[in-house]
Subunit: 305 residues, 2 copies
Amino acid sequence: MSIVERVAWIAVDWGASKLQIWAMDGAHDLLAERSLTQDMGGLECMQFESVLLQIIDEFLVAGRVMPVICCGMVGAKHGWVEADYITAPSRPPSGACAMRVISNDARIDVRIVPGMKQVAQPDVMWGEETQVAGFLSEQPKFDGVLVMLGTHSKWVHISAGEIVSFQTFITGEIYALLAHQSVLKHSIAVTGWDDIAFEVALAETISRPESAAAKLFSLRAASLVGDQSAEVARARLSGLLIGLELAATRPYWLGQNLAVVAATNAGEIYAKALSLQGLQAQVYDARLMMRRGLIAAYNTMKNTT
Amino acid sequence: MSIVERVAWIAVDWGASKLQIWAMDGAHDLLAERSLTQDMGGLECMQFESVLLQIIDEFLVAGRVMPVICCGMVGAKHGWVEADYITAPSRPPSGACAMRVISNDARIDVRIVPGMKQVAQPDVMWGEETQVAGFLSEQPKFDGVLVMLGTHSKWVHISAGEIVSFQTFITGEIYALLAHQSVLKHSIAVTGWDDIAFEVALAETISRPESAAAKLFSLRAASLVGDQSAEVARARLSGLLIGLELAATRPYWLGQNLAVVAATNAGEIYAKALSLQGLQAQVYDARLMMRRGLIAAYNTMKNTT
């Protein structure tokens, strides 16, 4: 049987800058995956369907309706349709509260899982709630904190199957702006690493968070008037910024049960940083958690077609 | 007598992105000023002279040699010529240590004032040392700290006419990156202000510096799930970042004699922030200090022509 004949539904992670799809069979095994880098900011509401069709058309057959379950920024205010938010504390949204999108193409039945919001300490997430659902489908009894990495990291407190609270840090975005667009860029390597430099900088800002601000320019100056290498500067910048995040998230990690969810090697770097504070955190694959979350959403989807 | 006949020398502040010149008479009164926005990063060594001539040619006369005293990044490694550094602690460089640049045009005699460097806590300055010289020409007995604002701020400890130590903060650059290029840009106004929001955010990060990292994303979230205005977000971002800088510079301002040197209204904002810590700091005009520093350099220049 060809892949097209076996595809039972399509899982979609549609973020601000990337569209990732997984073609799944009836047993929720992965048949194929595709991705597209596309800035959502440039899309009119009407264009979302054709962008999606570009990437899933090969799996569609006339006369059949393919379920397509999406999560991510695609359901935010400037996305395809606004799928609204579930308010924390709450279980992560299931497929039952996914929003159905009216499409022009009769071959697809598109649902978008809503994001989550928090009002008291204002915060929002789009996509991570589905990863949490995936993580909980594996570890339903987990009680503790998920550290979900990305351009923006989310610290998510989970208890009794609920997202109790969460907080977003834009550490990854600040790193990228400083390393690639600020005066520091001349002194910071694109690759390369120095463990000791990372650990020293991390310890500095965990114990004295304000030193992050004080030490940024020295990353440049130490290469001009000293002999600091660009690899050391890179590891130091990481250490300063992650240290500042850990100083701010102390209530999340002190004495807590932790797990890290990451799609890149940032997972190992954070796990190392946490281990230096005496905490052991297992690292989980963010894409796998996402897919499991979309499977959970598909399994709980109301059939309104 | 025409301006051209009265011009005795030309003072030049040549930074990374802007060239500013002042045509001065023999009594050091200002006759005319011109400026040019030009990214120094794109200039070959050979091109500096023609860029300078573009802007000062109108003041030159065949058969006369015009002294031109420059300071700023133009004397740094990737500038016109490397004028090297004076190492702190030291008096700010005088005209006697300015580097002479060999020019093709016989109508100019160009000197570049060196920058300053600090080795133990690596740091560098290019241009501010000349402002310090200008400030000291007015207040030779000043003992305390100059807060010199700009895209990068410098906290300069001055005693007995010497620059004892200094430290650079890239707060202004981080503000610009976050306000204009990060995810926060959607929620931050270009103008507008809210005093209370500034003061609250400032107090938060002075007392808990790590909260700067924790509260950045809430500038976005509070506009998505709350009703925070873009003007409030702008003042809060300023407060968070200046608070972090003040937390880091506490040893510079606690119980110190302070003066602020600024070219923009950031001077008033920092003075306000300092006054909330119980410190009164007078604000001085950075361009005026720069011109006085260049006058001091001109007056102490060795005549090697």
